[in-house]
Structures are given as structure tokens and as C-alpha cells.
């Protein structure tokens, strides 16, 4: 399987802070790659660097053969990359429907994709005309993911979607990601929840101190508690 996204020696500073010290990362086409690591390891900075929200000072980021490290964020998104930030990025003053309309590249929705969204997250249909800011945290996260899947994207980048969510909502998100995975959607996912990481992850990259320190399959990491403890400070089960 070929690489859809490849980061080589990516160095990113935020102001005077040196966060990424040369990140090497590959995301293979049609696979779900988990990006794991302790808090402050540089996971979110890596995702934001890919999206051009923080510009790398050195290194290269190549998406499907196109160097994107120097492109502006809108141009990167237009290549077919959907981004769900840790903060969800919901427009709280807009309705659920308006949030979805902004995520669609044309004025009209793809009916089949919209049906999928409503099948994954029925609550969004009910709340279509409600202001997004009035929804619960879980519903907002559903909307954030729904925006990313309302059209067929070549790569989905999702930052800690289960953070602070109730188990029932996490199960809904897992079901959604599993179905996307079954359709060969390529996903780069930062996640601390072991249940979700083990359920949906194919490949894994573990970060520490601004570098990728381990790559392999998710199944192998899930089996090796000693490796988990060494890389993550404690076993994945303790992250649940």
C-alpha cells in the first residue's frame, strides 16, 4: 500500500517555543493511522503543521505527491483534507445546517453522504435548524465529524474526538469511523482513548518530545504492554 501523506524531518516552532524537532511520519492510503503520545509530545502541533495552521520551519510534507508544507491552509484543505480540531471548531452562532453547508464545497449537498451523516448521527437531523452553540459537547463533536464526512475526502485528520465525551457518544463515533474505514477512507487520528484506538487503528505512530519514536501496527502495540509503558508512560488500558 502506498503513502498518501509523508512528513520528513518536520520542524515547527510556536513563537519562541521549539515544538517539533524533526517529525517523520507516513500515513498509508486506506488505513487508519493512530498518532499517540503523552500530553505535550507534539501530536496537535503535527496535525496543525500538516494543515498549514502553523508553518514548519524545516522538513517536508508531501500529500499524494504534492508538497504542501508551504501552501496556505485553504489550499491544503482544497486538496481534499478534512480537519477536525481538538476544540471541534464548531461555529456556535450558526445553525447545525449552516455549519454543514459551510463544509460542503458546493451549494447542494451530496444526498447520499447527507443520508450517511444522519444515519451515523440522527440527532443532527433533529437539530438541523438549532444553533450549534446550544448543543451538548457530544453533539458538537458529532457535528464536527459530520462536517468532515459530508463530502468524500481523501484524508481525514481528527484530533482527540472522544475527549470528555460520554461512553455512548464514543460508541457512536467508533461505529462511524469503522464504517468509514470499511470504505477505505484514510484517517490520521490522535486519540487517548484505548478502546477507540484499538477498535479503529491499523497503524500507529508514537510521539515523544516533538519526534516520532515508534511506528508499527496498532495490533502489535496493543499486545505489548511493556512497549506501551515505555512509550506512553503507562499502559493503553490505563488511558481508557
Amino acid at each position: 500500500m502506498d503513502e498518501l501523506l509523508k512528513l520528513s524531518g518536520v520542524v515547527t516552532h510556536i513563537g519562541s517555543y521549539h515544538i517539533l524537532h524533526g517529525v517523520d511520519l507516513s500515513v498509508r492510503r486506506g488505513r487508519v493511522t493512530m498518532l499517540l503520545g503523552r500530553n505535550g509530545a507534539g501530536k496537535t502541533t503535527t496535525l496543525r503543521s500538516i494543515m498549514g495552521l502553523w508553518k514548519p520551519r524545516a522538513g517536508s510534507i508531501v500529500f499524494d505527491g504534492t508538497p504542501i508544507g508551504t501552501l496556505d491552509t485553504p489550499d491544503i484543505a482544497r486538496l481534499g483534507i478534512a480537519y477536525v480540531p481538538e476544540t471541534m471548531g464548531i461555529f456556535s452562532q450558526l445553525t447545525v445546517g449552516e455549519n454543514m453547508k459551510l463544509a460542503a464545497t458546493t451549494a447542494r449537498f451530496n444526498a447520499a453522504r447527507l443520508d450517511d451523516v444522519f444515519r451515523f448521527f440522527p440527532i443532527l437531523k433533529t437539530k438541523w435548524n438549532d444553533r450549534a452553540g446550544l448543543m451538548s459537547g457530544g453533539q458538537k463533536q458529532m457535528l464536527a465529524v459530520a462536517r468532515a464526512i459530508v463530502e468524500n475526502r481523501r484524508l481525514m485528520i481528527i484530533d482527540e474526538p472522544t475527549k470528555g465525551l460520554a461512553p455512548a457518544v464514543i460508541d457512536q463515533l467508533i461505529a462511524c469511523l469503522l464504517e468509514l474505514k470499511a470504505r477505505d477512507t484514510t484517517i490520521l487520528l490522535v486519540e487517548q482513548n484505548f478502546h477507540m484506538a484499538q477498535s479503529v487503528g491499523d497503524d500507529v505512530a508514537v510521539m515523544d518530545n516533538g519526534r516520532v519514536v515508534h511506528t508499527g501496527t496498532m495490533a502489535a502495540l496493543a499486545r505489548d504492554t511493556e512497549l506501551q509503558t515505555r512509550l506512553l508512560g503507562l499502559s493503553l488500558a490505563a488511558h481508557q
Binding site: 494543515m51 491552509t73 484543505a77 482544497r78 471548531g89 461555529f91 450558526l94 453547508k101 435548524n129
Partner: protein, 323 residues
């Protein structure tokens, strides 16, 4: 959608509260005069609130675009003496339309140049924005003097828009009714664009979270330029109406209005077009009511109004949420 009733009821309550202190005809005259002044202030403030809301840019040079609009109107009106003297409504509206069109074009283009040359360099830094736009205002005022001279320039009101009509025993200036109609039309257009179009959706989303709008694939920088041009053009429209209403145009005609414009922005909630609309009418009404009831307090009455509203709603009547 949940409505903020206390803030929405403020304007009707304010209108009714003034009624017991004067006769109905006086109240009606003052109310229409206040609404007309409010609408002209709204035209000047709406552009600035959009610019602040979306771009997070505070520009003190906005007053220069108000002045520029008024000066352009002096030339256009002076070039159409026969139509200005005509008592035909069509001729009067044609003069007004020509002045507004010219002002929109010239202030829009000037705004575009101002954004490229000055504003683009100071995104994200309020202190630098204030310093450079105050400097820009001084330069712009001097340029106006260089082009149009330092002496005040009279501007004639089209004959058909002079005089008054009597409605329910109250004498109401025709030009004020035109100002109310124009202000309402601009407000409705702005609301329709903001609520019904994809461009409006992008602006409203950008006001909340520019980064996420970019991550969805929209080029916000282009949107910034477009909004800044629209903001300056609206200032020009306000300048045309205010200039004709005042009958005399000076380089300071715009900057003089900026105190009221900033009061409107703060009272309405920085960045909120609906808030600016309500606050502008409140300011117009307060100026007229207090001018009639307690002329000595008229100058400070709007400051008092702003303080009271901020004590009640520290972020203004209709604050925007930024993330």
C-alpha cells in the same frame, strides 16, 4: 432559535418611555428625526462593525471615508444643478443615486488601497492598528484638504427633498424620511446577504473562528479585503447622507462622527450588525429626546446611555461569540 427578549425589547421600551414627557406630535417629530440620524449613523457604523467583527481590526481612519463620501457628493451634486433645482422626485432621487454610486465607487477603491497599503501589515496587533490608522486618518484628512481645499463646501439638498410633510400633526422633514428608508434598505440588504448567502455564511463563521473557516477551504484573506471595501463604501454612503443633511462639508465631518460611531459599536456589541442597527437608533433617539428635554445634557447623554447599557450588558446588547 432562542431570542434575547430583554435586549430586543429595549428599543420599543425606550421609545415609549419618552412619550409621557412631551406631546404626541413632538414625540413623533423627535422620533423620526432620531431614527433618521440613527440610520445615517448606522450607515457609518455598519461597515466598521463588520470590519472589526470579521477582521478584528480597529481602524480610526474610518472617519476619513465618511468625509471622502461627503466630498464626492459635493462634486456630484454641484455637477447637476438643474436636477438639484427641479421639484421632481425622480430628479432628486437621480441626484442622490448618482452621489451614492460615485461615493461607493471612490470610497470602495480607496478602502481597497488602504487595506493593501496599511491594514494588511497590522493584522493581529490592536496597538499597531490604532497607531497606524490614526496616522492614516491625519494623512487622509490632509489629502482631502489638498484636493478640495480647507474651506467648508456647501452642498445643496435636492429641491424635492427639502421641506416637510405633516403626519399625525407632526412636521417631519422629507430628507429624514429618505434617510430612514435608505438606512432600512441597507440594513435589510446586509441581513439578507449575511443570513441567506454563502458569502454571508462565511462572514458570520469568520467572525467566530477564522482558522476553522480556512481549514474548510475558504480564502479568508480575500474575504477580509471584500469586507473592508464594503465597510469603506458604507462609510461613504453615510458620508453622502450626512453631508447633504448638514448642508456643509468640512474635512472633519467624518472624524467628528467617530465618537458616536464607536459608542454605537460598543453598545451594540463589537462586530454585530444587528447590534449596531439597534444602538444607532438608540443614539439618534437619545440625542433628539435629550436635546428637547434637557439641552445642556444632550452632549453627554449618549455616554450615559452607553455606561448604563454596559453596566447591564458588559459586552454590549448583542455580543458576538469568538473562539
Amino acid at each position: 432559535m432562542k431570542r434575547d427578549w430583554p435586549a430586543q425589547l429595549l428599543l420599543p421600551v425606550f421609545l415609549l418611555a419618552a412619550l409621557p414627557f412631551m406631546s404626541f406630535s413632538t414625540w413623533l417629530t423627535l422620533t423620526v428625526a432620531g431614527a433618521a440620524m440613527g440610520m445615517m449613523l448606522f450607515l457609518m457604523a455598519s461597515g466598521l462593525t463588520l470590519v472589526f467583527g470579521l477582521m478584528d481590526v480597529i481602524t480610526f481612519a474610518h472617519g476619513a471615508f465618511i468625509s471622502l463620501g461627503a466630498y464626492v457628493a459635493t462634486d456630484v451634486v454641484a455637477a447637476m444643478p438643474e436636477m438639484v433645482a427641479s421639484h421632481s422626485w425622480a430628479a432628486a432621487l437621480a441626484v442622490l443615486a448618482a452621489a451614492l454610486t460615485a461615493a461607493i465607487l471612490i470610497t470602495g477603491v480607496s478602502g481597497w488601497i488602504f487595506e493593501v497599503v496599511i491594514i494588511r501589515r497590522v493584522y493581529g496587533s490592536h496597538l499597531r492598528q490604532i497607531l497606524i490608522t490614526v496616522g492614516g486618518l491625519i494623512v487622509a484628512q490632509e489629502l482631502l484638504v489638498a484636493v478640495w481645499g480647507a474651506n467648508p463646501i456647501p452642498i445643496a439638498k435636492p429641491a424635492a427633498l427639502q421641506g416637510s410633510v405633516v403626519i399625525a400633526g407632526a412636521s417631519i422633514e422629507i430628507f429624514r424620511l429618505v434617510a430612514v428608508a435608505l438606512g432600512l434598505a441597507v440594513y435589510v440588504c446586509l441581513q439578507l446577504v449575511l443570513s441567506r448567502t454563502r458569502l454571508g455564511l462565511m462572514v458570520r463563521a469568520g467572525v467566530e473562528n477564522i482558522e476553522m473557516v480556512e481549514a474548510l477551504g475558504f480564502r479568508v484573506k480575500r474575504l477580509f479585503v471584500a469586507v473592508f471595501i464594503v465597510g469603506c463604501a458604507l462609510a461613504g454612503v453615510g458620508g453622502v447622507m450626512w453631508g447633504i443633511y448638514q448642508g456643509l462639508v468640512t474635512p472633519a465631518i467624518g472624524p467628528e462622527m467617530m465618537i458616536l460611531v464607536f459608542i454605537i459599536l460598543i453598545m451594540g456589541g463589537m462586530g454585530s450588525v444587528g447590534g449596531a442597527f439597534v444602538a444607532a437608533i438608540l443614539v439618534g433617539l437619545m440625542t433628539n429626546y435629550s436635546g428637547f428635554l434637557a439641552p445642556k445634557l444632550a452632549l453627554g447623554s449618549n455616554i450615559v446611555l452607553m455606561v448604563v447599557i454596559l453596566l447591564w450588558r458588559p459586552r454590549g446588547l448583542f455580543p458576538l461569540v469568538k473562539s
